[in-house]
Amino acid sequence: MRAGQRLLWFAVALVVLQVLVAGFAEWVAPYDPVAQDIMARMKGPTAAHWLGTDQFGRDVLSRIIHGSRTSLFVSALAVGVALVAGGTLGLVAAYYRGWTDRIVMRAMDVLFAFPVMLLAIGVVAVLGPRQETAAVAIAVVYTPIFARLLRGPALVICESDYVTGARAAGATDGRIIFLHVLPNLASVVLVQTSLLLSAAILVEASLSFLGLGTQPPTPSLGLMLSEGRNFLMLAPRPAVFSGVAILLLAFGLNLLGDALRDTLDPRLRGGH
């Protein structure tokens, strides 16, 4: 097996493991993540609490497991919405060309003109800091990325003989886009989705860290980090471990996207 492929399988294993743990958080986590035990607050690691407890005596490990789910859920929701919205816009622009293309892509340019965090902060400020609005904010930020990403290759495919042929044979626009254009973009979408999911994990964490994302007492990794830093010198574990968890989530997804790109896109294989 080539090194690249080993890396791919490693990434897949890491992501699947994380998704399983997060998805079955209720069964995996040893404790209720919001159950307080104030008399046992800020304790170090013990056999009962592997990563210790936080300032309310809540189990840090359980909060990290549930927090991972929150992070993955918000990021997946955001990237999913962005993929559908941005992808549709990009395909429509590429297929119809002309004014449709111009208007759609200018609108995307406007959104793209804002630095990611700035736009996300703005959207959250308007909608109010909540888990769902953080997802909306990230979706808004990523929509133009998918639109741009899909428009380019879609333009090339739309020019190709089999699309022209299908059109001549009288296939409807929707049929052509979904049956002929979209499948050819699968590898690009797969790679980019994975990379953006990784980035979304970080944006969600940043928003929660700034108090603009998930709200207490719901466990969230960015929020744990933000709360934990207030007593960093007394009990560094909640802040340090939640940061490690964020890193691992983003790392797995990024590595996956990276390895997928190597495997699926021969042009980028470069020097191998």
């Binding site: 406007v110 630095p115 965090m117 700035l118 703005g122 308007v126 830093r229 470069g270 020097g271």
Partner: protein
């Protein structure tokens, strides 16, 4: 041909900026809670009359479109307005805050780009081996480390290892050049790490590409020293993807700076923006976001042009 393309791009740019200004303006007014409430505080005797008087004074009692056109006409004349709290011109406030951020981002970029060249070269040399794979995993980790977390952990370590070092906050370069650099070193590192990771991979693949090309082989065969082969020929090849990344990186740096400035107490644009949101300082906030976005758009525009200049194939 090139000129027509340039004009078209400039028109697009103007349209985008106009739309951006409307969005910024509307977005800020849509943020719930207003400046007056913040100024008076939750803990005082606030009467409706006091609130109305303050609102009128700030101009919040006018219809929103009147406020927008009033603002825009002034902006186009170069007047960005007056900050609600300090009463100083907004332009001056932005100028004061722009330097720390520019310094921080440039330092991060220099740090990242500077270290990326040797790192990338090493990775290219070790290609295929376990060391290459390890470096690759390390670069992915570098890309995905949350910079604010890294900052906090560095502060924690610092406080334990060397409690007497003064590496926090900001002193202007003109006041204390050494202090300025030492204080920006940690945040620049936290901010620059993902750039280092990103660029070193670029350098690696560009090197591998280039080293396989005919002219490199020719150069080698001619007895040109290995070091010269690498630096003269192969690195030049990495320029195009590098330039492309700069635009993306500017956006990243700015976003990252917002959070890192908060952690390291650097009075830059990020602090200015977060502070202005918190206190609903409308004139300051809308002008700052507009200017930052303008800067970002212009950087991307220049990158586009550079790209055209470097690689004529893109023009097609």
């Amino acid at each position: 041909m090139l000129r027509r393309l340039l004009v078209a791009r400039l028109v697009d740019l103007a349209v985008v900026l106009a739309a951006v200004s409307v969005i910024v303006f509307a977005m800020i007014r849509l943020i719930p809670g207003d400046a007056v409430a913040i100024m008076l505080g939750a803990n005082t005797e606030v009467t409706p009359a006091a609130i109305a008087a303050l609102r009128a004074q700030i101009g919040l009692d006018q219809p929103i479109y009147v406020q927008y056109f009033g603002w825009m006409s002034k902006v186009l004349q170069g007047d960005l307005g007056i900050s609600l709290w300090t009463g100083k011109p907004v332009a001056g406030e932005i100028l004061v805050h722009v330097w720390p951020t520019v310094q921080l981002t440039v330092l991060a970029l220099v740090l990242g780009a500077g270290l990326a060249v040797p790192a990338g070269c090493l990775m290219a040399r070790w290609r295929g081996g376990a060391a290459d794979a390890a470096m690759r995993v390390a670069t992915v980790a570098g890309l995905t480390i949350p910079s604010f977390w890294l900052g906090i952990v560095m502060i924690l370590v610092l406080a334990t290892v060397a409690p007497s070092l003064q590496l926090l906050g900001y002193v202007p370069f003109s006041v204390d050049p050494v202090g300025n650099i030492t204080r920006l070193a940690l945040p620049a590192f936290a901010l620059g790490l993902p750039i280092l990771a990103n660029l070193s991979r670029l350098v690696r693949s560009a090197m591998l590409d280039a080293l396989g090309q005919d002219y490199i082989r020719t150069a080698r065969a001619k007895g040109v020293p290995e070091r010269s082969v690498v630096y003269r020929h192969a690195l030049r090849n990495a320029l195009i993807p590098f330039v492309t990344s700069v635009g993306i990186m500017t956006g990243y740096l700015l976003g990252g700076a917002i959070v890192v400035e908060q952690v390291f107490a650097i009075p830059g644009l990020g602090r200015l923006i977060l502070g202005a949101i918190a206190e609903r300082n409308y004139p300051l906030l809308q002008a700052t976001i507009l200017m930052v976005t303008l800067g970002f758009v212009v950087v991307n525009f220049v990158v586009d042009l550079l790209y055209l200049a470097i690689d004529p194939r893109v023009r097609a």
